[in-house]
Subunit: 213 residues, 2 copies
DNA sequence: TAGATTGTTAATCGATTAACAATC
DNA sequence: TAGATTGTTAATCGATTAACAATC
């Protein structure tokens, strides 16, 4: 504890650094300066150095940054050296899409269970994981060391399900339901509101058309 | 043209206002003050008033805001009174999930076509739309007044496909591929990088555990 | 050593919050 | 009219960028 708090603006940029560094590493680049990285990523070199220095010095004067080392360190900061068990709640199209996405496993997120209240879906198999009835959710979360719940259910049931999850010790919710969850301090929620994202796109299309008409 | 530029921070909040106002409208609330809305949404009343005033005065002193009127106006600002034809490129799980999501239609986004380079998927039906081979993409975009392309393909082909789309007059790309697209000025790109979102969640889980250990 | 580039402090910019006069 | 609440200006806060001394 007592580390200085890092702003969410900085956190939000870390995955992108991680992605670029991973790609550089894969093509065999050994070292990179903040200047070079800034041109590649189209951000300022100043911001890159400030961001990294929130976590201590990863570079070396006169040399730059070692790509592989920096990549690993950012991975650690993001907690990708830890593993977390997760369940998906809602076996509709989106839930199944996320369950089938293999890359999460590579980052330490282990797909353990899937739940749906629709009896027609119960028993179906998603990448080796059987869909279970909602009634089994709470016990399953308690007994299988589940850290993260992915919510891909309609907003009407999302709030109620989130409450149950919290009571059974979930640490984090990745929320795709179109509603804001109200959880106690200490439970992490990351919202992915797809309609919001599409509306932003819509605004920007319109704005551009107006500006150029 | 020559409207004052609205910051993306403000734009990013509009869909959430829109959602809350829609819900208030649906339960029959007629008027609301910035103070009441601020308690509901957990933002400051000051921010709400500043945000709305970017677009001119929607309220009335001593009264507050008319919910239905405000809802409609924000909808217009977001361009939800316009219709846009879109295609989905990539008929995998995620592409099909988005194709099946009915709500987009309600907001003026019309699902017109779906494309995949896998012959096994071509001909499949997603909510009345047949999956076509990638070879037909460019002609289809040109001839069917397609504004928006949804990219749910692997990053390896995303950049190349984006270039083709741009050449055939697409206005906007909703990009789910895990790569940054480089498009000309005036083409709108909205990224949904799901892994980035999950990494942010991962960071916050870890941080909380460290702070409390 | 000289040159390069970081780490870090200072300056700037933009976004959020507070305050209050205008007005319904 | 008096009370309520907006619209808007001013103050604060935080994030980004610039500058440069430290140092590899």
């Amino acid at each position: 504890m007592e580390e200085k708090e890092i702003s969410q603006a900085v956190i939000g940029r870390l995955p992108r650094y991680f992605r670029y560094l991973g790609e550089l590493k894969d093509v065999g680049v050994e070292r990179i300066s903040s200047q070079e990285l800034s041109e590649l990523m189209k951000v300022t070199a100043s911001q890159i150095r400030q961001d990294f220095n929130n976590f201590g010095g990863f570079g070396q004067q006169g040399y730059g940054y070692n790509v592989e080392y920096l990549y690993k360190e950012i991975g650690k900061i993001l907690g990708l050296d830890q593993t977390h068990n997760f369940v998906i709640i809602g076996a509709g199209n989106l839930g199944r899409a996320l369950g089938n996405y293999m890359n999460f496993e590579r980052r330490g997120f282990i797909f353990r269970g899937m739940f749906d209240q629709n009896p027609a879906l119960v028993g179906q198999d998603v990448r080796g994981v059987k869909v279970r009835p909602m009634e089994e959710l709470e016990q399953f979360v308690r007994e299988n060391d589940i850290d993260i719940a992915v919510l891909t259910i309609p907003k009407t049931s999302a709030v109620e399900v989130a409450d149950k999850l919290v009571h059974n010790g979930i640490k984090a919710i990745w929320n795709f339901a179109h509603v804001d969850l109200n959880v106690p301090e200490g439970i992490q929620v990351e919202n992915v509101h797809l309609s919001d994202s599409l509306m932003k796109l819509s605004y920007n299309i319109n704005r551009y058309m107006k500006e150029n008409s």
